[in-house]
Structure formats: C-alpha cells, structure tokens
Amino acid sequence: MTTRIVELRQGILKKNDELARSLRQNFTAAGVLVLNLVSSPGTGKTAFLERTLRDLRARGSRVAALVGDLETDNDARRLAASGAPVRQINTHGICHLDAEMIERHLAGWEGVALAGLDYLFIENVGNLVCPSSYDLGEKIRVALLSVTEGEDKPLKYPTLFNSADAAVITKMDIAEPCGFDRELALKNINEIRPGIRIFETSSKTGAGLEEWLGWLGEQRKAWKVCSCG
C-alpha cells in the first residue's frame, strides 16, 4: 500500500458560496439591496414582510420578494396583496433555500428586472438551523424572534443569531400577556451577537416599523455610497 495525504482545504459548500458571490455581484451591479429573513416557523416573517413591502411601496420604493416554503404558495399570495412582485419557491422537503434556487427563480421571473428594484427580500424556509449555512448572496441577514418563542431562543440557536446582521422581535403587542421578559431577550441576543441592531416590532399595530424602515433606508444609502466608490 502506498498512501499519500492530499491537502484540499476547500469549503464543503464551495459551489453554493461561489454562486452566492456571483449573485452578490449582480445585486450590487443592479443597485438592489438584498435581505435574507430567517426565523422559526410561526415567528411572523410573512406578516412582517407584508407590512414592510406595503409601507416601502407607499414611500415610493421599488420592492420585490422571493418566499421559500416546503409546499404551497399561500405566502406568495399573501405577500402579493401588497402590490409588489412576489415569487414562491417550493423546496419540496428541503429545509433551507440555497443560492441555486435564488438564481433559478430570479432568471425566470417575468416582468421583474433586478435593476428596476431598490430592495429584494428573501423570506427563507422557517428553520433556525440549516438556513444559516447557506449564503444566498444577500447583503443583510435578519434573524426574527417572536415574543411567544421564549427569551432563550438565541442561546438555543446561537449559529443563526450569531450570523445575523440585525434582529427583529415580532408580536410585541402580545408581549405582556405572554410574560415576555424583554430585558432578558435583549441580553441574550447581545450575548450571542454583541452590538447587533435590534428592532422591537408588531406587524399588527405597526410598532417599531418606522424605526425599521428608517434603518433600511440608511442601509441602502450607506451601501450605495460604498458600492459605487
């Protein structure tokens, strides 16, 4: 037997990472800010996005969304009520979106050109584990957490919160009856992702949305300056 060690030192998700990099270049060239929304099922990603799309459109922004689910196009239909172009991605059992799914669904999207958008939102499959491994070419990853899920969620799923650029707490309108310990939740998020920007919101009452939309505008402005320079 003649054995030899061959050093490879290559990323296991190399193909996904390369595709994500090329998507990111396309997004930058087109001037569209892309956000990847990740949370457990039932956190209220769709309700939060419905509100975000509607409010951004009302302010004259050009927005669109890709929405991932294992099955059904229920979420796409809900989001489309905002008037924004929305496309459903059905993964048929796969627990996360990957860069190839994004590329494929952007390619055949009738009437939607990246260059004609200010923001593209990607609502990931509801899952707090697997989506964190897959880069979709997004500029900003947003982790959402609802008041009904427990303040220790960030500690239980550290990888996802650690890889996020912003955190959104949803359903703040029912925080009190749920006995939600706000201070503890904020502390836990900060333990896992020190210094992260946190928004406390209610898609029902609109609380915290103004701050979120303002921040989105700032991010887009800062990013445009940065990517042009």
Partner: protein, 132 residues
C-alpha cells in the same frame, strides 16, 4: 437536517479531487467543522455510509475534526478559545466581541489515498510498451 446534502457535496468534491490520481483508492476523508457551522457531527457520520455507497469512494473512512470558536480580544491583545457558543465574550476580561478567528469552518481538510492501484496501472502500461 441538512447533513445529507452536506455529505453529498463532500462526496462530489472528493470524487472530483481523487480523479487526479487515477486508480487510487480513497482511504480517509478529513473534515474541519467549526462550532458555529450548524452541523451535527453524528448526523454527518450517519449519512456518510449512505452517501458513499456505490460511489468511487465507498469504504473510505470519515474523520471529523471539530474546532472551537476563537475570538480576538482587542483590549487583551490576544486570541482565546471559547468553551461553548453561549456567550461571545473574551474569557479573560469579559469584553464582548464579534472578531471571530475560528468557528465557522465547514471544509474538507485533506484526503488520504492509496496509490498502489494507480502505480500498478502505470506499471502495466509500461510493460505493454516495452516489447514494441
């Protein structure tokens, strides 16, 4: 949950890399998996047999090196290993930091191959050439 697709990617990459050594047998595949990689090592091992069955690398052993998170602390001026992933603070001074130096790895480190088969093939080719 996504370990099978991760293992399938490993099988593809290793098969591709091993093709540079025709006839060689892959004995071992070594991975580096960071504590923040969202991957369950037991599941990788469980999926390994299924994913390699019937492929060129069937029978190869999977070895997973797990890597703890290493943080760089500016005030201390040094890098430290974390015990877990529950708090991103310097274990010496308590400073919160996101300056990660290790922990997100999800990579194929190396493969060990047995080239005996490859040499034999080359030898046979030579032998057939000699009588001419």
């Amino acid at each position: 949950m996504h370990e099978l697709s991760i293992v399938a990617s490993v099988v593809d990459s290793v098969t591709e890399s091993a093709a540079a050594y025709p006839g060689a047998r892959v004995l071992e595949v070594r991975l580096r998996v960071g504590a923040l990689a969202s991957v369950v090592v037991d599941s990788l091992e469980f999926c390994w047999g299924i994913a390699t069955e019937g492929t060129h690398i069937e029978g190869a052993k999977l070895v997973v090196h797990t890597l703890p998170v290493i943080l760089w602390c500016e005030p201390c001026g040094k890098a430290s290993e974390l015990d877990g992933v529950q708090s991103f603070r310097c274990p010496h001074c308590g400073e919160a930091t996101m300056d990660l130096r290790q922990g997100r790895e999800l990579e194929i480190e190396s493969i060990e191959i047995d080239e005996a088969g490859a040499i034999e093939e080359a030898g046979e080719a030579k032998e057939t050439e000699v009588p001419r």
